[in-house]
Structures are given as C-alpha cells and as structure tokens.
C-alpha cells in the first residue's frame, strides 16, 4: 500500500512537471495540439475578418466585387444553406463598400432564404435592424448585426434538428469570401495581401465537419461535388509560411472557388 502511495505521488508530481515543463519551454506537445478543441463559432473566422485583413494592405474596390442577384427560390435545403452563407458574405462586402442600399437588398434576400429553411421568426427583426443601421450609416454595427444574423440562423438550424446544414452555411460564406478576396488580389497584387490566403487547417476543418454530416446529405450531388472540390482547394491554400502565393497561385484558387460558387448558385443541380 505504501509502495502504491509512493507511486501515486510520483505520478502526480510527474504530471505536474510535464505541465510545468510545457509552460517553461513555451512549447505545446503534439498530443496537446491534437487534443485542442475545435469549435465552429471560434475556430472559423467570419468573412468580415478576412475582408478586414485584406483592407489593411490598401484600398480595395469593394463595390467592384458585387455579383448579380441570385435566385432565392431554391428547393434543395443544402443548396439554400450554402447560398445563405454566400449571401451573408455578400452582406459583409456591401458593408465594406459602405453601400446602404446594397446591404438592404442583401438583407432582404437573406431573410427570404432563411425563411425557406423555416428558421426562426426572430430573423425578421434582424432584417429590420439591418435596414435601420444601413439608413444610419452605422457600418461597424451592421457588421456585428450580419455576424449575429449568421449565428442566429445557425442556432435556429440546430434547434430545428438541422445541425447538418450549419457547416454548409459556414462553407458557403468562406467560398464566397475567398472568391472575392482572390479576385481583389488579382486586380491589385501584392505579396502581403496574398498571404491572407494561407488557410490549410481551416479548409481541412470544414472538410472534416462535412464528413461528419449524415450520409444522405453528404451523398447529395451538390454536397458531394462541393466536398470533392474542397479537397482540391485545400491543396491550393496549403502554402508555405515563408513564401507568399504568386499571382498565378491566387488565380488558381480564384478559378477553383469560382467554379464551386457557380455550381452552388446555379438553379440546375448536378446529377
């Protein structure tokens, strides 16, 4: 018993020393890194965060990144979720462009798509707030409101047992955001702005989340196609830390995400 107690004491102090050792050396172990938590809400940055980083490197022609209106009458729920994410990213673009009317138009489309998914009625209130903030040029507040809208859509999906669609909203936003950022970088290339595209772990995380959704949804032609193309995109954004992507690298990423975006917003679903 005494021997066991000694062993237990030794194990306890060894545990303390290991933890203290990591602290002193300022280095986490591979095991600690592997066990780190990953959460949709904090691990995945918002489109607004990506646009803020791009905005640091010079003036961006945000209104030049608008796309034409997309249909808001999709029937496929996965497609609605992906487009909802894309529209929220469009909202962030309009905020960066400080274009009140565009924000209101996009806000209205977001509500229409969200209603098609049967998410919370509370979102109607968000639509009113978006209009009010746009009328008053409250751009910072609008950005927060868009982010809150996105999270409310996701919360509502979770409470309606639609949690599998949540990652598709996030993914749609990331794809549209990356399309816009790559397009802006191609128009005015510099190494510093191109460095924002290095996000292999982020794409890997989103792909792992898609692989966790129900086999039925994962097997839908659109989701299957997007997931496959995401694997290719992951390779393109797996850039070395020391080297900024060239304009040609950026063009390849832009073409890949553009292809996925076209498929997502098309009324014709892949077969």
């Amino acid at each position: 018993m005494t021997r066991l107690a000694k062993l237990a004491m030794l194990a306890f102090f060894a545990g303390v020393l290991v933890a203290a050792g990591a602290e002193e050396t300022g280095h986490l172990t591979a095991d600690q890194l592997a066990k780190a938590a990953r959460s949709d809400l904090i691990t995945i940055p918002t489109p607004g965060e990506l646009f803020a980083a791009l905005g640091k490197t010079g003036k961006t022609n945000w209104s030049g990144q608008y796309r034409g209106p997309i249909p808001v009458t999709y029937r496929n729920r996965a497609q609605i979720a992906l487009n909802l994410g894309g529209l929220i990213a469009d909202g962030f673009i309009a905020v960066e462009a400080k274009d009140g009317q565009q924000v209101k138009n996009i806000g209205s489309d977001i509500i229409k798509l969200a209603k098609a998914l049967g998410v919370s009625e509370k979102l109607l209130g968000r639509g009113n707030s978006i209009n009010e903030f746009a009328d008053n040029d409250e751009w910072d507040t609008l950005q927060e409101e868009l982010e809150a809208t996105q999270n409310e859509v996701k919360s509502s999906m979770q409470s309606h047992a639609d949690q599998d669609l949540v990652i598709l909203v996030t993914l749609g936003g990331w794809i549209r955001g990356t399309q816009v950022v790559t397009s802006a970088i191609i128009q005015r290339y510099d190494e510093r702005s191109a460095k924002v595209l290095r996000q292999p772990a982020l794409v890997h995380f989103m792909q792992s989340k898609i692989n966790e959704i129900s086999p039925e949804l994962r097997g839908e032609p659109l989701v299957k196609d997007v997931n496959e193309q995401l694997g290719e995109i992951e390779k393109l954004v797996s850039l070395p830390q020391s080297k900024a992507p060239t304009v040609e690298d950026v063009r390849k990423i832009n073409e890949s995400v553009g292809k996925v975006m076209t498929e997502i917003q098309s009324k014709e679903l892949p077969k």
Binding site: G15, V16, A19, A20, A22, E23, G26, H27, L28, T29, Q32, L33, K35, A36, A37, R38, S39, D40, L41, I42, T43, I44, P45, T46, E49, L50, A52, A53, L54, K56, T57, K122, E138, D140, T141, Q143, E144, E145, E147, A148, Q150, N151, E152, S155, S156, Q158, S159, Q163, R192, S193, K195, V196, L197, R198, Q199, P200, A201, L202, F205, Q241
Partner: protein, 144 residues
C-alpha cells in the same frame, strides 16, 4: 453609447441563442466577464466576434482551442472564469505549438492576450488556471 453596443448585442445573443450544449449559469457568468474585458478593447476599434468558447478549467492542464487568424489583423483573446477559479492566464501558440509573444492583461479571474499574427493560418489559444480550483471559463475573440 456606440462603444457599448457590441457588448449589448453580444449579451442579447447570449441570452437568446440556443446552443447544442446548454450553457451552465457559471459559463454564462464567465462569458459576461470575458465580454466585459473584450468591451474595453472595443474603445480601440476592436470588433468582438459573435462567437465564444466555454468549458472547465482544471489545475495543471491547458484548455486549448484552435483558431484560424489572418496576417494583417490584430487580435485580442479575452477570458473570464468563475469561482472557485482565482486567477487565469491567456496565451497564444503558433501552429507548431511554440508560444508566441503577446500583450497581456491579467486581473484575477479575467485575463487577455493581444497578438498580431505574422502569418495567416492556424494558432492555438490556451486558457490556464493559475490559482484556485476547477471552475468554468469562457473565451471570446476580438479583432481589427
């Protein structure tokens, strides 16, 4: 008034949102504390991200979460914890697990780390229990 709006909005979402795992009262309080710390950085133009990470802090353990950050942005990670936690620290590690140099704020059960990533990519944020016993914590992120 405007500077408090993000905090009010975040607190509103906190009250109304439904999460997969219901938050405990202690986590709700910890989140309020974390938002209070983050609110101070709003005065310098930092936007509070409408997301959070809550959990339980244990002695001699790192509570680690993965974040993906963009070079060019500045970030603050603000943490709050509740009794019996007495003192916490927030640290940031790069993708290889090496601790990075940060600005720090420490006030007992509230702490924050400020950081401008030199490279875009994956980082790890750690919340550590320095004094006290096992208890709930919450972490929020702000950026500009």
């Amino acid at each position: 008034m405007k500077r408090w709006l993000p905090i009010f909005v975040s607190l509103f979402i906190l009250e109304t949102s439904t999460s997969v795992r219901a938050q405990t009262d202690a986590e709700v309080q910890a989140r309020k504390d974390a938002l209070e710390v983050a609110g101070a950085f709003s005065n310098d133009g930092f936007k509070i991200r409408d997301g959070h990470w809550c959990g339980v802090l244990k002695p001699h353990d790192h509570s680690l979460v993965v974040v993906n950050l963009y070079a060019g942005n500045q970030y603050w990670f603000s943490g709050g914890a509740t009794e019996p936690v007495k003192k916490i620290a927030v640290s940031v590690y790069d993708e290889s697990g090496k601790k990075v140099s940060t600005e720090t704020y420490n006030d007992g059960e509230k702490a924050a780390a400020g950081f401008s990533p030199p490279n875009s990519g994956q980082y790890f944020v750690s919340v550590d229990l320095l004094e006290g016993e096992e208890g709930s914590f919450c972490l929020v992120c702000s950026y500009k």
